[in-house]
Subunit: 317 residues, 2 copies
């Protein structure tokens, strides 16, 4: 019944939950996660990879489920002191989390690739899933703000974390682009795993700023289109809204209906099947009208057991 | 009696103690400390300035007097986690100390100069003395090892901290050079303060690897030679030995007698007066034979009061 080789396309929290369901129903070593790096940033000279870290911490069982980011039982000695110094403390970095960034940055400065460092970190954290950054090259999500904010007038382009964390994604967006995407090459293993996968799962991550940067890596969308029949996406939109984050507003602001129908339309070129929540059962026919098979089930992963149940439906879809 | 404008040439621990004596006998705002940056390094992507930090922490009253580096009452959450990750942990960075490095690195990456960041950090730490890095440019002490070590065969050149911390300066040295010195410019205020000082104090710092990098900045030795009559050095060698660190061995390995006479010979071109410890009273005549005035007093700064007493002698010399 269960697939032999599985690839998941991942953002942060939603993807981490999907993965923690998938590892309960397939052997983890048969699972490859291709993870967004558009959120990556340099801060205090450190290379921070929020989505890779969220996935790693979750699969290592050390994630903070209350915040959805960082490490459970974290301490804050460095941040507290940085705050006293009047340093930039809007992006909260816990002490244990900082060790990850120190390790990663030191290895990158020494010439290691992001995929090599990701493999080292996930091995040392005991993560049995193969984690691949979408690209080892610098691909950075940049957001043009439709309104004035503390970071500048309407029309200012800011880094993703400036929008997401600093402005708490509480400002309208007129454009999203992926700086460096044209020259980015898929990380080693990305294309091969997509070509060889018996099933490709699109996690319920933000279509614009988590899945978007993956598709922006030259070659990725083409291979996904070629594998369309085996690509199953889980809708990140339930009853018109995102469970977490600004996916619903971003979709609307950028001209896509914030519904499972909008998701189907957006993903139709490269997704064969869309899994939608029971709450959207009435829209199944409209999804299929977009040329995408529709499967209806419970998609809210409020526990590992529910995530595993969803994973089973996704694999059987 | 006391001088109006005072400049101190500084390495780390010995200089920090001398400064804590000087601030007890002159108004701190009349004191400028020019600090070695040859020890600076990049580690984990962070810019670390050990001598500037030792001086800052000491003058802020937050230094760890047991270790001679770092912050008193420090915590180690990041390092402990980095150790668990198998990261590079030979250079111990405490949590509060790390906040300094994050602040500095972030500001440098944003385009600030090292002197600007140093001024910000010392102001925020409540340090009333003006601290100047010798240069804002990259000047790095490099050490050629005369013996084989875990870092390579005899003849290998390594970074200063590799020699000093990683190898615990427990290996013979055949050469010291200051990478980047030719192109380094004195930081803003350095030349002016040396030209205008009524007295210039050379702290009892390592002559080779603390004072040496200062002299290597083009222009510094010339201005010191022009001010020779007003330059007073405190010998870092007492009875042939350094109180701390490898100054004695480095001097001998590089062909200078490890004694106050050797110091006098080394400093004679630009130092008018050498203050030596009571233990070296018998060598005063040999010091003066080098063309350097000799003052004999207690130079071991085992308490702030003794440091202040030494400071008084230095200023009256």
């Amino acid at each position: 019944m269960l697939v032999a080789v599985l690839v998941a396309l991942c953002g942060g929290v939603g993807a981490a939950r999907m993965l923690s369901g998938l590892v309960r129903v397939v052997p983890p070593q048969d699972l490859t996660a291709i993870v967004n790096v558009g959120d990556d940033m340099e801060l205090h000279g450190l290379h921070i990879s929020p989505d890779l870290d969220t996935v790693t911490y979750t699969l290592a069982g050390m994630d903070n489920r209350e915040t959805g980011w960082g490490v459970a039982g974290e301490s804050w000695a460095v941040m507290d002191e940085l705050h006293r110094l009047g340093g930039e403390d809007w992006f909260r970095l816990g002490d244990r989390d900082l060790a990850t960034h120190l390790y990663r940055t030191g290895r990158l400065r020494a010439g290691a690739t992001l995929s090599a460092v990701t493999a080292e970190l996930s091995e040392r954290r005991g993560v049995p899933v193969r984690l691949l950054p979408a690209t080892d090259d610098a691909l950075r999500t940049r957001v043009t703000l439709a309104e004035a904010s503390e970071l500048g007038p309407a029309g200012s382009e800011v880094g993703f974390q400036d929008y997401f964390v600093r402005l708490r994604h509480d400002v309208a967006v007129s454009r999203v682009r992926f700086d460096g995407a044209e020259g980015a090459r898929p990380a080693p293993g990305v294309m091969e795993s997509l070509e060889e996968a018996t099933r490709i799962v699109v996690c319920p991550s933000n279509p614009v700023v988590s899945i978007g940067p993956l598709l922006a890596v030259p070659g990725l969308q083409a291979v996904l289109e070629a594998r369309r029949a085996d690509v199953v996406a889980v809708s990140p939109i339930i009853a018109g809204a995102a469970l977490k984050g600004p996916a619903d507003r971003l979709l609307a602001e950028l001209g896509t209906e914030s519904s499972v129908v909008g998701i189907a339309r957006l993903y139709a070129p490269w997704v064969g099947t869309l899994v939608v929540d029971d709450a959207d059962a009435a829209l199944a026919r409209r999804v299929e009208a977009e040329g995408v098979r529709c499967v209806v089930t419970g998609t809210v992963m409020s526990s590992p057991e529910r995530a595993a149940a969803l994973a089973r439906v996704v694999l059987d879809a």
